[in-house]
Symmetry: C3
Subunit: 388 residues, 3 copies
């Protein structure tokens, strides 16, 4: 357990302030908070590999609210809360009375009498997801303060319109493992690049999350996308600031090749232009089906103009030693497998496939670590106790 | 733990006969049974507030069968069985083969080989819900008697066409806490009043449950509704008898103001007239969509004639010291929030909102207490053991 | 615990090789494997009857994938994994992103980071179900070998196109109990007979499973069906071989009466002709709704020609002493109850109803035993430890 103890010691040297809090956005959190979550995630994974239980609850519920389809995040959350000792209850908004006009405030309390954690995925509408999470957070705070709830449930962002912290931290943990520690990440070039996909409407939270996390670890982050596929402007500003603080860099280009040039890591992924997502939200709210259909057609046509934004073998050749690590949040749109033309060539994906599985494999432990750090007052002591 | 021990002593003084039984209707149960369930509910809530585990099962399933949408009851049941140590399995009648002609008798046994509890909500059709619960109860009794089931699952009524015992006992526990004990409830006037709502088809079980529970605790219960919004006649008869036995009273009026006059508690809530619910059941069975549409239109129009049945600030002023406690099973139809005109004025609801949350907060523990009393032969001994 | 210890001793005398493996088809397994699973199932059921916990996991997920509706198998799986200490997560393919083009290989890994067991029911399409299970098995093997998964989930076949091992072993355990041991089964005649049903499209796995399991225990197995209602030819070949090996027999006839003559056990059950199932699979894949409708009409008409294939009182009279044991996987199509004319007469079914419930009651424990034998290196030691 040398590796475990090394992390325990590093955790002891940090000053996180996660106890009793929610985890909504990485950029609201100190570097110590981020490191603490990731170190705990690694330690919980180590315990799991040795089948040493890491339960911290005697009983209680964990509630997931998914406003978008999901396999991997659903099962990651299910796994995380199971390991910690909670039972999962999914709030299905069709089954429940939420559809019947209940306010968020009321529902949040009604489901939380024995609830320790609420995980929310709400990534479809710019300006909505994070706001919704804050409303739920405020509601359970009020309930707890007024004796309605015996405990305040911890909120975990399982993907919102702004950030996807459990994903970006899993991405980073893979890099940490691959390159050999936090320090090894400094000066590494990562290309967070838009890539072509025949689908449309993919959220912005992954690229926004990646540029705002990797810049905090001294990496040289390059964001690349075709003209018009902008992210939310605020998220670019924070990424710049983080890069300055960490001694890394943040560059914004409109060429995949430029981003891939000498990159140590590439992250080619499709997303919808912010303006399209905003328009789509409006149309959805208005129930304008024809408008939505027209928008989709327009977007797919626009996307098609950028079919050359594909992570091909040729594109990989221009990366550092032709050998950059390929990352993806999965599922990837693989040319010749899931679609005719997509984000990545079949041979490239296949070469890195198991790496992407390992990348995804951190997510249950990142989620568990967020909950652990919010619920355990003495994390070092608690973690030590597991191995005794 | 003085408060805990006080309840333990009171429990010891009672002679409940709940062991091995189901909990379907409050009016089938002795006063000692009702008090025992409520005392245990309070004690389990106290343990929960101190995070002292109150598990009684090593393993086993709890099954919920919901024939109507529900958020709060679903999560209350999920919470209760989790605290007791069971895993929840929801019997979704769309997913299952019940739709394919299985008999209730067979299904009840097929799902119960490791099942300790079955919670059922079936409140839509007068004459159906309670009957269905009895069929399930008979089926698992037969299975248990014949060696099919190693244990007989306990049935818990999570709302039927007749009664909503987990709700009414939560309502009563809130009153007990608010006024300070069983004795303080004697002579308190509670107005169980119909109120206007733009929706239709709400079940009768809440008012029927309330008038049949509160009358047993010496309260002065006034039932109020417009002409034609009758409850099932039997439930009025039992309420009268209970009032006579307990030294309380039961009055039936057709004016909200008369009911609210000097009331200590008001419970303004919409329901559909019994005759409408019966008609609706027929039409549903016949699959008469046009008939259902017509009935709905007719009812909504009829409801509109009674829009003055709203719990307004003016109406509250005529209650005892203008200060009656407002109760509701939630979600309430709040004027200006969930609808233009509804059951209660926005300012009235907001003033009592946290009280209604606390009221709801008893429900998981009432459910747990019903199960506890059915499964634990020596409840006092068991409860004492938790705090050691 | 004499009965328990007797089984423990028998288990000790066997040489099963189930550790670390999947359970997909009975005919891939040695007789010792089959006996071991069934003995463990009996022992777990005994523990359950005495409410002695038989948990083997501290935490972890069990995932079920159901591609067909199911009540009893769903709850059997839920029960089995609960008793063993796992939390159930159902992979609902509508909710998940599988519908969005993910490969089986990827999904299998993405859901398995903390997963100990995957139970699959995929019985609709000949040539598909078993193949799908093998793909999932290969995927998690690859993931485990490459450090993606800390443990390799055990696959359990909850019904495929070829076999329904948890059903057939439950059927056999009922026979073992009814007749009094493995040896008592030798030479017993079982009629696995097609029976008329007004439905269509029922899978072949039950009859295929039964003829391939009962022949291994020295029974005289007679398969009966009208001309054209063939099973997969391979499954008949293996049944013949097994009968030769065990000293039993396998006969194939086209008369229910011939099969029932002097039978000790009858298993009258509807299934669709193999050729129809294959045709149906094609049409489903092509989305040919009219073709499917036509096929259904054709089949129902064809079925009607064989309405005399019913397990009537008269038919029962020709069985051994008019007193054969009736078996069924449930739900049965009961004449006069679930349909006008069906597989079995009402009075016959009612006489054996509780027997069929007991038959079904083995299933949770058969599933649990499959998992137990795959996960526990020293099953005898572990089982002994439960009773201490």
């Amino acid at each position: 357990m040398t590796e475990f103890n090394k992390r325990l010691q590093e955790l002891e040297s940090l000053a996180p302030d996660l106890f009793g809090g929610d985890f909504l956005l990485t950029w609201e959190n100190s570097l110590d908070n981020l490191k603490a979550v990731m170190l705990v995630a690694e330690m919980l994974q180590m315990l799991h590999k040795k089948k040493i239980p890491w339960r911290i609850f005697d009983y209680g519920l964990a509630i997931s609210i998914f406003r978008d389809n999901s396999t991997r995040t659903r099962f990651s959350f299910a796994s995380a809360v199971n390991g910690l000792g909670l039972a999962l209850s999914e709030l299905d908004e069709v089954k429940s009375q939420i559809a019947h006009g209940e306010t968020v405030r009321e529902t949040a309390n009604m489901i939380s009498f024995l609830t320790e954690v609420i995980g929310i995925r709400d990534d479809m509408y710019p300006g909505e997801g994070h706001t919704y999470m804050q409303e739920v957070a405020d509601a359970v705070s009020e309930g707890h303060a007024n004796g309605v709830l015996a405990q305040r449930p911890t909120l975990v962002n399982l993907q919102c319109d702004l950030d996807h912290p459990t994903q970006s931290m899993s991405d980073l943990l893979k890099l940490k493992d691959y390159f050999g520690g936090w320090d090894a990440l400094k000066g590494k070039k990562i290309a967070m690049s838009w890539a072509y996909s025949p689908s449309y409407g993919k959220p912005l939270s992954v690229p926004q999350g990646v540029i705002n996390l990797m810049t905090r670890f001294g990496m040289d982050v390059v964001l690349a996308h075709p003209e018009g596929y902008d992210l939310l402007p605020d998220t670019l500003d924070t990424a710049k600031t983080f890069a300055n603080q960490s001694g890394g860099s943040f560059t914004h280009v409109h060429s995949m090749a430029e981003a891939f040039k000498d990159a140590d890591i590439v992250y080619p992924k499709s997303w919808a232009p912010m303006a399209v997502m905003q328009k789509r939200t409006e149309l959805l709210k208005q129930g304008d089906k024809q408008g939505l259909k027209d928008l989709e057609q327009h977007c797919l046509a626009e996307n098609k103009r950028h079919m050359d934004w594909e992570c091909t073998e040729d594109m990989m050749k221009i990366t550092k030693a032709g050998n950059a690590l390929y990352e993806h949040c999965l599922p990837a749109d693989i040319s010749g497998i899931s679609c005719e033309h997509g984000e990545v060539a079949k041979t490239v994906f296949e070469r890195y496939r198991l790496h992407t599985y390992q990348e995804a494999g951190y997510k249950p432990f990142v989620i568990a670590a967020m909950i652990f750090m919010s619920k355990v007052r003495q994390p070092v002591t608690k973690l030590s106790s597991f191995t005794r």
